[in-house]
């Protein structure tokens, strides 16, 4: 009798526990599903509007290789108001500024992260880590105004010998790269530090036990072990950089791509990228012109997707899975 009652109680307990488990896992599954639905809906919505511009006078070749961007037709030099949909210059601007900024940020961030985790004294880490996290949260418009009022005049003086003292030499891709560096470095640095901290201590000990120096341990054992997560850091830095709008729009200062793109001077004169026209013109446009901006947004998504795929491919060749 006693045994049967306690077995009944035990069964009731486990049944309740099982139901709880199922309810909770259902709730979390619904949350994940909601997230996936939101992301897919956003992509589908933008894609649905992205192809409308091609039925309104833009050609694919003209869109991706043309260099005069004027979907409203207000800047038509002939005065007829004919729109031009040449986004090649915009795409080039975004890619150049983002890639160069990431190339500059990545060694900086990984090097600093290695210093933090391996060689820095504890008190320094305790002071600097919260500072970095605060720095991650700086609004981009603040950095943009900093760029406009501090970096642009400085860049103008630095570039004076290259550009023959051009008064607008402070604007352009070079200042945009500096601004992107400031925006992206804290994010990449924080994630890199977490990535390196997540490497188990056994990796370090094994490497040191086999006789490697500290530098050999860092470069040949820890960084390859953390490469998947470091890849994530770089990817997040890239996505933040390519989507950076306000900070970059204030220091770019142009509306079209310059005539001579493949010279050093192109970096030191008013220039353009994808996000600056979206920020400036999108709210004022309607109809066919607005569709052109949806296409730009879709191009931005596609570039990000391509880069994320490439990075995932490279990072998946990690030694330690």
């Amino acid at each position: 009798m006693q045994v049967a009652e306690s077995t009944q109680q035990a069964t009731r307990h486990t049944r309740r526990a099982r139901i709880n488990n199922r309810v909770v896992s259902m709730v979390f599954f619904l949350c994940a599903l909601l997230l996936v639905i939101v992301i897919i809906s956003v992509i589908v919505f933008i894609a649905s509007k992205a192809f409308l511009v091609f039925s309104e006078g833009a050609t694919i070749k003209g869109f991706f290789f043309g260099t005069f961007w004027d979907p409203t037709g207000n800047a038509d030099p002939t005065g007829n108001g004919n729109p031009s949909y040449g986004a090649g210059g915009l795409i080039l601007g975004s890619i150049i500024t983002t890639v160069i900024a990431i190339l500059l940020v990545t060694p900086f961030a990984i090097g600093t992260a290695v210093f933090f985790t391996e060689a820095a004294p504890n008190w320094l880490v305790r002071i600097l880590q919260p500072l970095i996290e605060i720095f991650t949260g700086i609004p981009s418009v603040v950095v943009g105004f900093l760029g406009l009022l501090v970096i642009v005049p400085l860049m103008q003086k630095i570039s004076a010998p290259i550009t023959n003292n051009l008064p607008t030499g402070g604007f352009g891709w070079a200042s945009a790269i500096v601004v992107l560096f400031i925006m992206v470095l804290p994010t990449t640095l924080s994630i890199s530090i977490d990535a390196l901290r997540a490497v188990p201590g056994s990796v370090r000990e094994a490497s040191l036990a086999l006789g490697s120096t500290r530098w050999q341990m860092m470069s040949k054992a820890i960084i390859p072990a953390a490469s998947a997560r470091l890849g994530t850091a770089v990817v997040l830095g890239f996505t933040r950089a390519i989507g950076e709008t306000l900070a970059v729009a204030l220091v770019l200062g142009g509306s079209q791509i310059p005539d001579k793109i493949f010279t050093l001077q192109a970096f030191f004169q008013p220039n353009i990228n994808i996000t600056a026209p979206i920020a400036q013109d999108f709210g004022e446009t309607s109809g066919a012109a607005q569709n052109a901006y949806w296409t730009l947004a879709f191009v931005l998504l596609v570039i990000t997707f391509i880069f994320v795929s490439i990075s995932r491919l490279l990072a998946s060749r990690s030694v330690y899975k």
């Binding site: 488990n21 909770v24 030099p77 204030l250 200062g253 079209q256 004022e284 309607s286």
Partner: protein
Amino acid sequence: MSNKSRYALLFGVALAITMVISACGSTSSGGGSTPTASSSTSTSSTLGTPGSYNCVQGSITASGSTARAPLVKAVAQQYSTKCSGATITVNLGGSKTGLANVEAGSVNIGNSDVPAGPTQTDLVDHQVAVVIFAIIVNKGAGVTNLTTAQLKGIYAGTYTNWNQVGGANLPIVVVSRPASSGTRATFQKYILGGPEKISGPSSLTSDSTGTVITEVASTNGAIGYAASGPAKANSGVTIVSIDGNAPSSTNVQSNTYKFWNIEHMYTKGAATGLSQALIDYMQSSDAKTIAAQQDFIALLDMQPAAITAHNAVS
């Protein structure tokens, strides 16, 4: 309760609280739901006369032009202090957004610097004020007056140094607005008579009036155009007369100074109740004082010949 179900309960409660807060909070933002333009007592019969003040109770929302938002907000606040029971909310969003909102019925009044599009036929136009624009130059340029021909030359790239137009020996840097800007459209229509043709390394494009003024103040030899209210407030730029006429109220009222534009307040169908009362009040003497402080002119103060001549420019 097991840990997992406790977390699930907390999560559910947090979600419920978030939804309740967002539902309660949305009533104060004033957009998206049909507004109640309820007017209870409309005593005076001068409703519909520009410049009159009638106290109508109720609540309305306006949205649109950022250039005129400070003026509308200040006048609306003045109105609410005089007429308790009237609530006026002014949102931003830009001229085109204001037009789209009033067309969709989500706001009562749409403020716009540009006329409504040809497809927006059920919008009724109320012209209430005039906004003055000014040409500003960097202090190093050394000019205080430019002729229209010189401005056309500068914005076509013909003149590249200030000493060609009577200024210092300094290269000219041209600051424009983006092609979709209403200010640029006004500049092209009334001063240049055609599109801007400048391009190249010495030309900058800035997003807003404020950024134009900042860039002209800090770039040597820069010239740009902006609303004259903010331009006068910034001491780092010089305001230039066009053809010898300064951007003063008297010059604008007689159309000797031509760089100005009419501000519109659109309503869907005829304006009624509090909307009409606010539109009338925008031209009352209280509103004129506020407008003068912010460098707008009430439409009633304009000479009719000036307006006809202005509208005749194609």
